[in-house]
Symmetry: C2
Protein backbone atom coordinates (compact mmCIF):
# COMPACT_ATOMS: atom_id res chain seq x y z
CA UNK A 1 0.00 0.00 0.00
CA UNK A 2 1.34 3.41 -0.99
CA UNK A 3 1.98 5.82 1.87
CA UNK A 4 1.31 9.55 1.67
CA UNK A 5 3.16 11.62 4.24
CA UNK A 6 1.80 15.10 4.86
CA UNK A 7 4.05 17.56 6.71
CA UNK A 8 2.29 20.68 7.93
CA UNK A 9 2.26 23.54 10.39
CA UNK A 10 -0.88 25.31 11.61
CA UNK A 11 0.58 28.71 10.68
CA UNK A 12 0.45 27.77 6.99
CA UNK A 13 -2.84 28.52 5.21
CA UNK A 14 -1.95 26.31 2.25
CA UNK A 15 -1.38 23.49 4.74
CA UNK A 16 -4.90 24.16 6.03
CA UNK A 17 -6.34 23.91 2.52
CA UNK A 18 -4.41 20.69 1.93
CA UNK A 19 -5.59 19.28 5.28
CA UNK A 20 -9.16 19.54 4.01
CA UNK A 21 -8.32 17.49 0.91
CA UNK A 22 -5.76 14.82 1.77
CA UNK A 23 -8.06 12.27 3.38
CA UNK A 24 -10.34 12.13 0.36
CA UNK A 25 -7.25 11.93 -1.87
CA UNK A 26 -5.88 9.02 0.17
CA UNK A 27 -9.27 7.29 -0.01
CA UNK A 28 -9.49 7.75 -3.78
CA UNK A 29 -6.04 6.33 -4.35
CA UNK A 30 -6.10 3.64 -1.66
CA UNK A 31 -3.10 5.21 0.05
CA UNK A 32 -2.25 5.22 3.73
CA UNK A 33 -2.14 8.79 5.02
CA UNK A 34 0.43 9.74 7.64
CA UNK A 35 0.05 13.17 9.27
CA UNK A 36 3.44 14.62 10.18
CA UNK A 37 3.28 17.82 12.27
CA UNK A 38 6.49 19.85 12.02
CA UNK A 39 7.68 23.39 12.68
CA UNK A 40 7.69 25.56 9.58
CA UNK A 41 9.77 28.23 11.32
CA UNK A 42 12.47 25.65 11.91
CA UNK A 43 12.36 24.55 8.28
CA UNK A 44 12.70 28.13 7.02
CA UNK A 45 15.57 28.81 9.40
CA UNK A 46 17.42 25.63 8.46
CA UNK A 47 17.04 26.15 4.70
CA UNK A 48 17.30 29.94 4.46
CA UNK A 49 13.87 30.12 2.85
CA UNK A 50 11.78 33.24 3.41
CA UNK A 51 8.30 33.33 4.90
CA UNK A 52 5.77 35.08 2.61
CA UNK A 53 5.36 37.84 5.20
CA UNK A 54 8.95 38.94 4.53
CA UNK A 55 7.93 40.13 1.05
CA UNK A 56 5.02 42.56 1.57
CA UNK A 57 3.82 42.38 -2.05
CA UNK A 58 3.81 38.58 -1.91
CA UNK A 59 2.03 38.55 1.42
CA UNK A 60 -0.69 40.88 0.12
CA UNK A 61 -1.21 38.65 -2.89
CA UNK A 62 -1.24 35.51 -0.77
CA UNK A 63 -4.49 36.67 0.78
CA UNK A 64 -6.06 37.21 -2.65
CA UNK A 65 -4.88 33.80 -3.83
CA UNK A 66 -6.21 32.13 -0.67
CA UNK A 67 -9.66 33.64 -1.24
CA UNK A 68 -9.67 32.14 -4.72
CA UNK A 69 -8.75 28.70 -3.38
CA UNK A 70 -11.29 28.99 -0.57
CA UNK A 71 -14.05 29.67 -3.11
CA UNK A 72 -12.90 26.93 -5.46
CA UNK A 73 -12.65 24.27 -2.77
CA UNK A 74 -15.61 25.45 -0.71
CA UNK A 75 -13.37 25.58 2.35
CA UNK A 76 -14.12 28.47 4.73
CA UNK A 77 -11.11 30.68 5.28
CA UNK A 78 -10.84 33.83 7.35
CA UNK A 79 -7.33 35.19 7.43
CA UNK A 80 -6.43 35.67 11.13
CA UNK A 81 -5.90 39.21 12.36
CA UNK A 82 -2.64 38.10 13.99
CA UNK A 83 -0.45 36.26 11.50
CA UNK A 84 2.10 34.78 11.40
CA UNK A 85 1.74 33.35 14.90
CA UNK A 86 3.95 31.04 16.94
CA UNK A 87 2.95 27.40 16.61
CA UNK A 88 5.59 25.85 18.84
CA UNK A 89 3.07 24.87 21.52
CA UNK A 90 0.39 23.95 18.99
CA UNK A 91 2.66 21.62 17.04
CA UNK A 92 3.86 19.98 20.28
CA UNK A 93 0.20 19.46 21.13
CA UNK A 94 -0.32 17.84 17.72
CA UNK A 95 2.44 15.36 18.55
CA UNK A 96 0.90 14.76 21.96
CA UNK A 97 -2.41 14.08 20.18
CA UNK A 98 -0.61 11.72 17.79
CA UNK A 99 0.70 9.75 20.76
CA UNK A 100 -2.93 9.25 21.80
CA UNK A 101 -4.10 8.25 18.31
CA UNK A 102 -5.89 11.59 17.93
CA UNK A 103 -3.72 13.41 15.41
CA UNK A 104 -6.39 13.43 12.70
CA UNK A 105 -9.19 15.07 14.70
CA UNK A 106 -6.75 17.35 16.52
CA UNK A 107 -5.24 18.54 13.25
CA UNK A 108 -8.61 19.36 11.72
CA UNK A 109 -9.80 21.06 14.91
CA UNK A 110 -6.64 23.17 15.16
CA UNK A 111 -6.59 24.23 11.50
CA UNK A 112 -10.29 25.12 11.58
CA UNK A 113 -9.93 27.03 14.86
CA UNK A 114 -7.11 29.15 13.42
CA UNK A 115 -8.26 29.55 9.81
CA UNK A 116 -12.04 29.45 9.96
CA UNK A 117 -12.96 30.55 13.47
CA UNK A 118 -10.30 33.15 14.20
CA UNK A 119 -9.16 31.50 17.42
CA UNK A 120 -5.67 32.20 18.74
CA UNK A 121 -3.62 28.99 18.67
CA UNK A 122 -0.85 30.53 20.74
CA UNK A 123 -3.13 30.42 23.81
CA UNK A 124 -3.02 27.24 25.91
CA UNK A 125 -6.74 27.49 26.71
CA UNK A 126 -7.56 27.56 22.98
CA UNK A 127 -5.37 24.52 22.42
CA UNK A 128 -7.13 22.79 25.33
CA UNK A 129 -10.47 23.54 23.64
CA UNK A 130 -9.15 22.20 20.35
CA UNK A 131 -7.87 19.05 22.06
CA UNK A 132 -11.21 18.56 23.79
CA UNK A 133 -13.02 18.84 20.46
CA UNK A 134 -10.65 16.15 19.18
CA UNK A 135 -11.77 13.82 21.94
CA UNK A 136 -8.88 14.29 24.36
CA UNK A 137 -8.73 15.60 27.90
CA UNK A 138 -7.86 19.09 26.67
CA UNK A 139 -5.99 20.59 29.63
CA UNK A 140 -4.10 17.33 30.24
CA UNK A 141 -2.99 17.16 26.61
CA UNK A 142 -1.71 20.73 26.66
CA UNK A 143 0.07 20.06 29.95
CA UNK A 144 1.82 17.09 28.34
CA UNK A 145 2.96 19.08 25.29
CA UNK A 146 6.39 20.22 26.59
CA UNK A 147 7.47 16.57 26.60
CA UNK A 148 7.29 16.65 22.79
CA UNK A 149 9.84 19.41 22.36
CA UNK A 150 12.61 17.08 21.19
CA UNK A 151 10.30 15.03 19.01
CA UNK A 152 9.14 18.18 17.22
CA UNK A 153 12.73 19.25 16.61
CA UNK A 154 13.63 15.78 15.33
CA UNK A 155 10.58 15.63 13.04
CA UNK A 156 11.45 19.04 11.61
CA UNK A 157 15.11 18.18 11.11
CA UNK A 158 14.16 14.88 9.52
CA UNK A 159 11.94 16.63 6.99
CA UNK A 160 14.70 19.13 6.17
CA UNK A 161 17.15 16.27 5.63
CA UNK A 162 14.72 14.78 3.12
CA UNK A 163 14.57 18.08 1.23
CA UNK A 164 11.69 20.05 2.77
CA UNK A 165 11.90 23.82 2.57
CA UNK A 166 8.29 24.89 3.19
CA UNK A 167 4.76 23.72 3.93
CA UNK A 168 2.74 21.80 3.09
CA UNK A 169 5.23 19.14 2.02
CA UNK A 170 4.22 15.70 0.82
CA UNK A 171 6.23 12.55 0.33
CA UNK A 172 5.34 9.45 -1.66
CA UNK A 173 8.36 7.36 -0.79
CA UNK A 174 11.16 9.86 -1.29
CA UNK A 175 9.37 11.74 -4.06
CA UNK A 176 8.65 15.17 -2.62
CA UNK A 177 5.82 17.55 -3.53
CA UNK A 178 5.41 21.06 -2.17
CA UNK A 179 2.19 23.01 -1.91
CA UNK A 180 -1.54 22.59 -1.87
CA UNK A 181 -1.34 23.31 -5.59
CA UNK A 182 0.65 20.13 -6.23
CA UNK A 183 -1.91 17.64 -4.90
CA UNK A 184 -2.72 16.60 -8.48
CA UNK A 185 0.90 15.54 -8.92
CA UNK A 186 0.69 13.74 -5.57
CA UNK A 187 -2.37 11.88 -6.80
CA UNK A 188 -0.58 10.79 -9.97
CA UNK A 189 2.35 9.52 -7.91
CA UNK A 190 0.04 7.57 -5.59
CA UNK A 191 -1.78 5.97 -8.53
CA UNK A 192 1.56 5.07 -10.06
CA UNK A 193 2.85 3.67 -6.75
CA UNK A 194 -0.24 1.50 -6.35
CA UNK A 195 -0.08 0.34 -9.97
CA UNK A 196 -3.55 1.82 -10.67
CA UNK B 1 -12.95 42.08 -25.15
CA UNK B 2 -11.09 40.93 -22.05
CA UNK B 3 -7.35 41.57 -22.04
CA UNK B 4 -4.80 39.17 -20.61
CA UNK B 5 -1.45 40.73 -19.78
CA UNK B 6 1.44 38.31 -19.39
CA UNK B 7 4.60 39.63 -17.70
CA UNK B 8 7.64 37.39 -18.08
CA UNK B 9 11.40 37.14 -18.09
CA UNK B 10 13.38 34.57 -20.06
CA UNK B 11 15.29 33.53 -16.94
CA UNK B 12 12.08 32.13 -15.43
CA UNK B 13 11.26 28.51 -16.33
CA UNK B 14 7.68 28.83 -15.13
CA UNK B 15 7.34 31.80 -17.48
CA UNK B 16 8.55 29.54 -20.28
CA UNK B 17 5.91 26.93 -19.44
CA UNK B 18 3.25 29.64 -19.33
CA UNK B 19 4.45 31.06 -22.65
CA UNK B 20 3.62 27.73 -24.28
CA UNK B 21 0.05 27.87 -22.96
CA UNK B 22 -1.19 31.46 -22.97
CA UNK B 23 -2.07 31.80 -26.64
CA UNK B 24 -4.33 28.77 -26.59
CA UNK B 25 -5.85 30.06 -23.35
CA UNK B 26 -6.52 33.46 -24.93
CA UNK B 27 -8.07 31.76 -27.97
CA UNK B 28 -10.31 29.56 -25.81
CA UNK B 29 -11.58 32.53 -23.82
CA UNK B 30 -11.71 35.06 -26.64
CA UNK B 31 -9.25 37.30 -24.79
CA UNK B 32 -6.71 39.67 -26.24
CA UNK B 33 -3.21 38.61 -25.18
CA UNK B 34 -0.63 41.26 -24.42
CA UNK B 35 2.97 40.09 -23.94
CA UNK B 36 4.79 42.28 -21.44
CA UNK B 37 8.55 41.59 -21.16
CA UNK B 38 9.99 42.82 -17.88
CA UNK B 39 13.07 42.27 -15.75
CA UNK B 40 12.55 39.74 -12.97
CA UNK B 41 15.78 40.77 -11.25
CA UNK B 42 14.41 44.29 -10.96
CA UNK B 43 11.13 43.01 -9.55
CA UNK B 44 12.90 40.91 -6.92
CA UNK B 45 15.14 43.80 -5.95
CA UNK B 46 12.23 46.26 -5.69
CA UNK B 47 10.06 43.93 -3.61
CA UNK B 48 12.66 42.15 -1.49
CA UNK B 49 11.53 38.79 -2.86
CA UNK B 50 14.11 36.00 -3.12
CA UNK B 51 15.04 34.14 -6.27
CA UNK B 52 14.64 30.34 -5.88
CA UNK B 53 18.41 29.93 -6.28
CA UNK B 54 18.91 31.68 -2.94
CA UNK B 55 17.37 28.69 -1.15
CA UNK B 56 19.36 25.62 -2.25
CA UNK B 57 16.70 23.12 -1.15
CA UNK B 58 14.03 25.04 -3.05
CA UNK B 59 16.20 25.33 -6.13
CA UNK B 60 16.91 21.59 -6.15
CA UNK B 61 13.20 20.87 -5.91
CA UNK B 62 12.34 23.40 -8.60
CA UNK B 63 14.11 21.19 -11.12
CA UNK B 64 12.10 18.16 -10.04
CA UNK B 65 8.87 20.13 -10.21
CA UNK B 66 9.73 21.47 -13.66
CA UNK B 67 10.30 17.95 -14.98
CA UNK B 68 6.82 17.01 -13.79
CA UNK B 69 5.29 20.01 -15.52
CA UNK B 70 7.30 19.36 -18.69
CA UNK B 71 5.94 15.80 -18.85
CA UNK B 72 2.39 16.87 -18.06
CA UNK B 73 2.28 19.63 -20.65
CA UNK B 74 4.42 17.89 -23.24
CA UNK B 75 6.70 20.91 -23.34
CA UNK B 76 10.41 20.08 -23.80
CA UNK B 77 12.52 21.46 -20.98
CA UNK B 78 16.25 21.10 -20.44
CA UNK B 79 17.45 23.03 -17.44
CA UNK B 80 20.36 25.21 -18.65
CA UNK B 81 23.81 24.45 -17.27
CA UNK B 82 24.26 28.15 -16.49
CA UNK B 83 21.31 29.46 -14.49
CA UNK B 84 20.27 32.00 -13.40
CA UNK B 85 21.61 34.10 -16.27
CA UNK B 86 21.41 37.82 -16.98
CA UNK B 87 18.50 38.72 -19.22
CA UNK B 88 19.01 42.47 -19.39
CA UNK B 89 20.01 42.39 -23.06
CA UNK B 90 17.49 39.67 -23.94
CA UNK B 91 14.56 41.57 -22.42
CA UNK B 92 15.63 44.77 -24.18
CA UNK B 93 15.67 42.77 -27.40
CA UNK B 94 12.13 41.56 -26.63
CA UNK B 95 11.02 45.19 -26.39
CA UNK B 96 12.84 45.98 -29.63
CA UNK B 97 10.98 43.06 -31.20
CA UNK B 98 7.71 44.38 -29.80
CA UNK B 99 8.36 47.72 -31.47
CA UNK B 100 8.54 45.82 -34.77
CA UNK B 101 5.39 43.77 -34.12
CA UNK B 102 7.47 40.65 -33.54
CA UNK B 103 7.16 40.16 -29.79
CA UNK B 104 5.21 36.89 -30.10
CA UNK B 105 7.66 35.00 -32.37
CA UNK B 106 10.67 36.55 -30.59
CA UNK B 107 9.37 35.49 -27.18
CA UNK B 108 8.79 31.90 -28.25
CA UNK B 109 12.14 31.73 -30.02
CA UNK B 110 13.98 33.11 -26.98
CA UNK B 111 12.27 30.88 -24.44
CA UNK B 112 12.81 27.79 -26.57
CA UNK B 113 16.44 28.68 -27.21
CA UNK B 114 17.14 29.00 -23.49
CA UNK B 115 14.92 26.26 -22.09
CA UNK B 116 14.78 23.61 -24.78
CA UNK B 117 17.95 24.08 -26.84
CA UNK B 118 20.45 25.09 -24.18
CA UNK B 119 21.51 28.27 -25.98
CA UNK B 120 23.08 31.10 -23.99
CA UNK B 121 20.77 34.13 -24.08
CA UNK B 122 23.43 36.38 -22.60
CA UNK B 123 25.34 36.24 -25.91
CA UNK B 124 24.47 38.89 -28.52
CA UNK B 125 25.02 36.44 -31.38
CA UNK B 126 22.51 34.02 -29.86
CA UNK B 127 20.00 36.85 -29.50
CA UNK B 128 20.63 37.78 -33.12
CA UNK B 129 19.90 34.19 -34.13
CA UNK B 130 16.72 34.23 -32.02
CA UNK B 131 15.65 37.52 -33.61
CA UNK B 132 16.33 36.14 -37.08
CA UNK B 133 14.19 33.10 -36.35
CA UNK B 134 11.44 35.54 -35.30
CA UNK B 135 11.58 37.18 -38.70
CA UNK B 136 13.70 40.21 -37.85
CA UNK B 137 17.07 41.38 -39.07
CA UNK B 138 18.83 39.73 -36.13
CA UNK B 139 22.04 41.76 -35.78
CA UNK B 140 20.15 45.02 -36.37
CA UNK B 141 17.59 44.18 -33.71
CA UNK B 142 20.29 43.38 -31.15
CA UNK B 143 22.13 46.59 -32.08
CA UNK B 144 18.94 48.56 -31.40
CA UNK B 145 18.36 46.95 -27.99
CA UNK B 146 20.23 49.52 -25.82
CA UNK B 147 17.62 52.10 -26.83
CA UNK B 148 15.06 50.10 -24.81
CA UNK B 149 16.90 50.40 -21.50
CA UNK B 150 14.52 53.02 -20.10
CA UNK B 151 11.43 51.29 -21.45
CA UNK B 152 12.45 48.05 -19.74
CA UNK B 153 12.97 49.85 -16.44
CA UNK B 154 9.59 51.59 -16.78
CA UNK B 155 7.80 48.35 -17.67
CA UNK B 156 9.35 46.66 -14.65
CA UNK B 157 8.53 49.50 -12.28
CA UNK B 158 5.01 49.67 -13.64
CA UNK B 159 4.45 45.97 -12.91
CA UNK B 160 5.83 46.36 -9.38
CA UNK B 161 3.48 49.30 -8.77
CA UNK B 162 0.57 47.07 -9.75
CA UNK B 163 1.68 44.43 -7.24
CA UNK B 164 4.04 42.12 -9.11
CA UNK B 165 6.67 40.31 -7.05
CA UNK B 166 7.72 37.45 -9.34
CA UNK B 167 7.21 35.80 -12.72
CA UNK B 168 5.17 34.87 -14.57
CA UNK B 169 2.59 37.47 -13.53
CA UNK B 170 -0.78 37.86 -15.22
CA UNK B 171 -3.32 40.63 -15.07
CA UNK B 172 -6.97 40.55 -16.07
CA UNK B 173 -7.79 44.19 -15.48
CA UNK B 174 -6.17 44.77 -12.10
CA UNK B 175 -6.77 41.23 -10.89
CA UNK B 176 -3.32 39.71 -10.53
CA UNK B 177 -2.32 36.05 -10.82
CA UNK B 178 1.15 34.67 -10.18
CA UNK B 179 2.60 31.48 -11.58
CA UNK B 180 2.17 28.99 -14.37
CA UNK B 181 0.15 26.99 -11.82
CA UNK B 182 -2.51 29.71 -11.63
CA UNK B 183 -3.54 29.70 -15.29
CA UNK B 184 -6.76 27.93 -14.37
CA UNK B 185 -7.70 30.88 -12.16
CA UNK B 186 -6.72 33.20 -15.03
CA UNK B 187 -9.04 31.28 -17.31
CA UNK B 188 -11.93 31.62 -14.86
CA UNK B 189 -11.31 35.36 -14.61
CA UNK B 190 -11.27 35.73 -18.40
CA UNK B 191 -14.51 33.79 -18.78
CA UNK B 192 -16.07 35.93 -16.07
CA UNK B 193 -14.76 39.14 -17.70
CA UNK B 194 -16.23 38.16 -21.06
CA UNK B 195 -19.54 37.14 -19.51
CA UNK B 196 -19.10 33.58 -20.80
Amino acid sequence: MAVLEFFYDFVSPYSYLASERVEELARRTGALLRLRPFLLGGVLKATGNQAPVETPAKYRHLKVDLERWSRRLGVPLNFPAAHPFSTVLAMRCALAAAAKGLVVPFTHAAFRAAWAEGLDLTRPEVLALVASRAGADGPALVASAPAYKETLLAETEGAVKRGAFGAPTFFVGEEMFVGNDRLDFVEEALRHASGA
